[in-house]
C-alpha cells in the first residue's frame, strides 16, 4: 500500500531534527566480507538479527556463506551454522564451525534458540534458503520476535538467510539481486560474493520501505 506524501515528509523532518546515532564499533561484528560490511557500515549489529534475502535459486548466497565462515575462521571466531534443510556442502575443513543439520524450519528455530541462549558463539547463521515458503509462512511472527529478544538479551549476532522477506524483527534486511551464470564457474570463489548486487530492502530507522521479494 503506497504511503501518503505527508507521512514521508514527516519522517524526513524527524530524521533531520533527530539524526540517528551511528552504532559504536564495538556494537558491530566485522565479518571481513566486504559486500556485507560495507553496506552495513562496519559489520553485523551485535544483539540483533540481520536478514539476507536470496530470492533467486542461484544468486550466490551459498558462496557468500562460505566466504563468511572462512573469514570468521581466519579471525579465530566461532560460528554456528543452523542449516534449516541440511544443504550445506563442506568444501574445506572448518575447525571453528559448529554445523547443526536440521530437517525443517521448526527444528532450526529451536536449535537457533538454544545456540543463542548458550551465549558462547559469536555468530550464528540460520540458513533457511532451501526451506519451502509454505513452511516458513507457518512460523508465527511471535517466534521471530522471541528470537530477536533472545538475540538482544544474550548479545549474540544472528544472520538469517531466506528466500524471501519474512521477519519483521531484523534490524536490517539485505537482498541479493543478480543471478549466477555458467560463466561464473571460471571466476574465483572469493570474487563471486563481491560481484553480487546487494541492496537494502529494510533498515530499521531508515527511509527504506519494506519491499517484499518474490519467492
Amino acid at each position: 500500500m503506497p504511503q501518503s506524501g505527508k507521512i514521508i515528509e514527516l519522517r524526513q523532518v524527524l530524521a533531520e531534527r533527530f539524526p540517528r546515532e551511528l552504532p559504536s564499533p564495538s556494537s558491530l561484528l566485522a565479518t571481513g566480507v566486504d559486500c556485507l560490511d560495507r553496506p552495513l557500515e562496519g559489520g553485523l549489529r551485535r544483539g540483533s538479527i540481520t536478514q539476507l534475502v536470496a530470492p533467486l535459486p542461484s544468486c550466490g548466497s551459498a558462496s557468500l556463506l562460505h566466504e563468511l565462515i572462512e573469514s570468521m575462521q581466519a579471525a579465530s571466531q566461532f560460528v554456528a551454522l543452523i542449516d534449516g534443510k541440511n544443504s550445506f556442502e563442506l568444501i574445506d575443513p572448518a575447525n571453528l564451525l559448529l554445523w547443526i543439520r536440521c530437517d525443517n524450519v521448526s527444528q532450526a528455530i529451536r536449535a537457533a534458540d538454544l545456540i543463542i541462549r548458550d551465549g558462547n558463539i559469536v555468530l550464528s547463521i540460520l540458513d533457511l534458503k532451501h526451506n519451502e515458503a509454505r513452511e516458513l509462512r507457518k512460523v508465527p511472527a511471535t517466534s521471530w520476535y522471541r528470537l530477536q529478544r533472545v538475540t538482544a538479551e544474550f548479545e549474540t549476532t544472528l544472520l538469517l538467510i531466506t528466500s524471501y522477506y519474512i521477519s519483521g524483527s531484523s534490524i536490517a534486511t539485505l537482498q541479493i539481486n543478480n543471478s549466477l551464470r555458467i560463466t561464473d564457474f571460471s571466476e574465483l570463489s572469493s570474487t563471486i560474493p563481491q560481484s553480487r548486487l546487494i541492496d537494502f530492502i529494510y533498515r530499521k530507522n531508515h527511509q527504506v520501505e519494506p519491499q517484499y521479494a518474490q519467492v
Binding site: A54, L56, P57, S58, C59, G60, S61, A62, S63, L65, H66, E70, Q73, A74, A75, S76, Q77, F78, N86, S87, F88, E89, L90, I91, D92, P93, A94, N95, L96, L97, L98, W99, I100, R101, C102, D103, Q107, R110, A111, L114, I115, R117, D118, G119, N120, V122, K129, H130, S179, L180, R181, I182, D184, F185, S186, E187, L188, S189, S190, I192
Partner: protein, 509 residues
C-alpha cells in the same frame, strides 16, 4: 631464635556415633522428600534433637560410644543395650557404619591437609597437624574455618593447640570449640598423668610418690627424675612440660572423593534422589576444594532393588568446583535414565584435576562457558540427532558428500583455526539431501531438458561431464557422471548420472 613448635589436634567427639547419625539424617531427608514434608524445618529439628537426646553407638552387643546427653543419663561405655535403655528409656541406639566412618575419616584428613601439609591420622575422628611453617598471628581464625567446613560435612568437633601433640589433644578434649594452651597452662597442670599414656610400671611408681597430675610431675627436678626413672621418666617429664614431642607419622590423604549411601526407602522418582545427590555433591566438592583442585569427572553408580547396577562416568568439559554446574550435568544425565527397578543406594565419586591452562593468542578467544556449551550441545543432539551436530570433517575419499560430524573435543576452544586454503574456482553448492530424481532428455548424449519435482526447464548452457568413480575394490563401488547446467529461466544446478539414474544433487548458489 628458633620458633617454638606448635601442634593442633582436631578432635571429633563420639565420631563413630556422629557417622551413624549422619546416615540417619540422609534417611530422614529421603523420607521427607518422598512424603513431601517440609524439608528443611523437619531435618533441622531431627538434627538438633539428635544432639540433645541421649544417643549411643552399639557394636557387638555393647555400647561403644555415647554422646554427652547419654553420659549424663548414666549410660556408660561397655554396658549392654538393655541396661542402657533401663537407665535412659529415651536413649537412641545406632549401629556402626564402617564404610561411612572410613569415608568421613578421609574427608577429615583432606580438610586438615589444606591447613598443614604435615598431618597424622591419629585415630578415628582425630587428626594431628604439625603447624610448622604457619605464621598466623591468630591460630583461632583458621581453626574456626576448619571447624566450620567440618560442620558443613555434618560433624561437630573441637580444636586444641599446644606445644606437643599430646598436650594439644588434651586441650582439644576440653576445647569449646577452640583452646590454645602452653606448658604452663593451669588446665594442663591439672590433667592426670594418664593423659600422656605412660607405662603401667612408671605410672605405679609416680602414684606411689603421690604424683597424680602433670603439674605435680613438672614441679620435680628433671635431673632427679632422670636419675630415678631413667630415660622413660625423662621423656615423660619432657612431654608433660612441653619440651619434647612424640614423632608424628606424617601422611598424605588419599585423593579419593567418594560418598556411598544406602537408602532406607526405595526411590522410584527422580526428585528425592536428586536432592540427596546434590547434598553428597556439595560435600565432595568441598573436599575437592580443600586440596585446591577442580572436579573433572563424576562417576555415579546406582544400586537398584533387583541387585542390578547402573554406572556412568560424566566428563566435565571445563573442570570446576561450581556445585550448580556439576549438579546440572548430573541432573541432565539422570533425566534420561530409565531404571529397571527402584534405586536403593548409590556411590558418587568425583575425580579431581588441576585447573586447566588456556593461553590464547592476541585475537583468539575461548568459549565463555565451556560447560554450558557442552550442555547446549547435548540438548542440540537430543533435538536433531547425535550425528547431525558437530564439527564437519571431510572423509579421505572422492565420493561426493563424504562428511562426518565430529563431536567437539574438550579442548575445542584451544584449536588453531584452519590454515588458509588455496583459492577455489566457481560458486558454492547447496546440496539436496537426498538428491531429487529427474527425467532428462538427451541429444547426442548431452542433456537438453530436465524434468523433476522441483526443477524443470530447458537447459541453456552446460559443462561436463565430470566423471569419477571409486571403491571398485569393494562391493559398494560407485561411478558417477556430473554435469553443471544452467536453465533458460535461470538457475545453476548439478546433474548427476549414477547407476543409470539421473538426479539433481544440488544447486549452485
Amino acid at each position: 631464635m628458633p620458633r617454638s613448635k606448635l601442634f593442633a589436634v582436631v578432635h571429633t567427639p563420639y565420631f563413630r556415633l556422629q557417622c551413624a547419625q549422619q546416615k540417619l539424617l540422609n534417611a530422614e531427608i529421603e523420607f521427607n522428600q518422598q512424603t513431601n514434608l517440609p524439608l528443611f524445618g523437619e531435618t533441622k529439628t531431627v538434627h538438633k534433637t539428635g544432639d540433645k537426646i541421649p544417643s549411643a553407638l552399639l557394636d557387638d552387643a555393647e555400647i561403644v560410644e555415647v554422646n554427652p546427653a547419654a553420659d549424663a543419663a548414666g549410660v556408660s561405655i561397655g554396658i549392654t543395650p538393655s541396661l542402657a535403655l533401663a537407665r535412659a528409656p529415651e536413649l537412641q541406639l545406632y549401629s556402626s557404619v564402617a564404610e561411612q566412618e572410613e569415608q568421613q575419616q578421609e574427608a577429615l584428613l583432606q580438610l586438615c591437609y589444606r591447613f598443614s601439609p604435615f598431618i597424622e591420622n591419629t585415630s578415628p575422628g582425630v587428626c594431628t597437624l604439625d603447624l610448622r611453617g604457619r605464621k598466623d598471628q591468630h591460630q583461632e581464625w583458621w581453626a574456626r574455618e576448619l571447624l566450620a567446613e567440618w560442620r558443613i560435612l555434618g560433624f561437630t568437633a573441637q580444636i586444641g593447640i599446644g606445644p606437643n601433640p599430646e598436650l594439644a589433644e588434651q586441650a582439644a578434649k576440653f576445647a569449646n570449640p577452640y583452646l590454645a594452651v602452653n606448658a604452663n597452662s593451669q588446665l594442663l597442670r591439672s590433667l592426670s598423668l594418664e593423659s600422656l599414656q605412660p607405662s603401667h610400671e612408671l605410672l605405679d611408681i609416680l602414684h606411689n610418690w603421690g604424683i597424680r597430675t602433670l603439674g605435680e610431675l613438672v614441679h620435680l627436678p628433671r635431673e632427679d627424675i632422670g636419675v630415678r626413672l631413667g630415660l622413660e621418666g625423662l621423656a615423660l617429664w619432657d612431654r608433660a612440660s612441653g619440651r619434647s614431642t612424640k614423632v608424628l607419622h606424617h601422611m598424605q590423604p588419599p585423593e579419593i572423593f567418594r560418598e556411598s549411601i544406602d537408602l532406607e526407602q526405595r526411590l522410584e522418582t527422580l526428585e528425592p534422589l536428586l536432592f540427596i545427590l546434590r547434598r553428597s555433591l556439595e560435600h565432595l566438592t568441598l573436599r575437592v576444594e580443600s586440596v585446591y583442585r577442580l572436579v573433572a569427572e563424576i562417576r555415579l553408580l546406582l544400586l537398584l532393588d533387583n541387585e542390578e547396577t547402573l554406572e556412568r562416568s560424566l566428563q566435565i568439559p571445563a573442570p570446576t568446583r561450581d556445585v550448580a554446574v556439576l549438579f546440572r550435568v548430573l541432573a541432565q544425565y539422570l533425566e534420561t535414565v530409565q531404571t529397571t527397578a527402584p534405586v536403593v543406594g548409590f556411590v558418587l565419586e568425583v575425580f579431581a584435576s588441576n585447573p586447566g591452562k588456556h593461553q590464547f593468542d592476541l585475537f583468539q578467544s575461548g568459549l565463555k562457558d565451556p560447560n554450558r556449551f557442552f550442555n547446549t550441545l547435548a540438548r542440540l543432539a537430543a533435538l536433531v540427532g547425535n550425528n547431525r551436530v558437530g564439527i564437519p570433517e571431510k572423509i579421505a575419499t572422492h565420493r561426493p558428500d563424504s562428511v562426518r560430524m565430529q563431536w567437539p573435543a574438550f579442548d575445542w576452544m584451544d584449536k588453531a583455526p584452519t590454515a588458509t586454503k588455496s583459492p577455489r574456482i566457481g560458486p558454492a553448492l547447496r546440496r539436496y539431501r537426498p538428491p531429487i530424481p529427474a527425467r532428462v532428455e538427451l541429444i547426442s548424449g548431452k542433456p537438453v531438458k530436465i524434468q523433476s519435482q522441483s526443477v524443470n526447464g530447458q537447459i541453456n548452457k552446460l559443462a561436463g561431464p565430470w566423471r569419477s568413480s571409486g571403491d571398485w575394490w569393494y562391493t559398494d563401488r560407485w561411478e558417477i557422471q556430473e554435469w553443471d547446467i544452467e536453465l533458460t529461466q535461470g538457475g545453476l544446478y548439478r546433474l548427476t548420472l549414477s547407476a543409470g539414474s539421473w538426479s539433481i544433487t544440488g544447486g549452485y548458489d
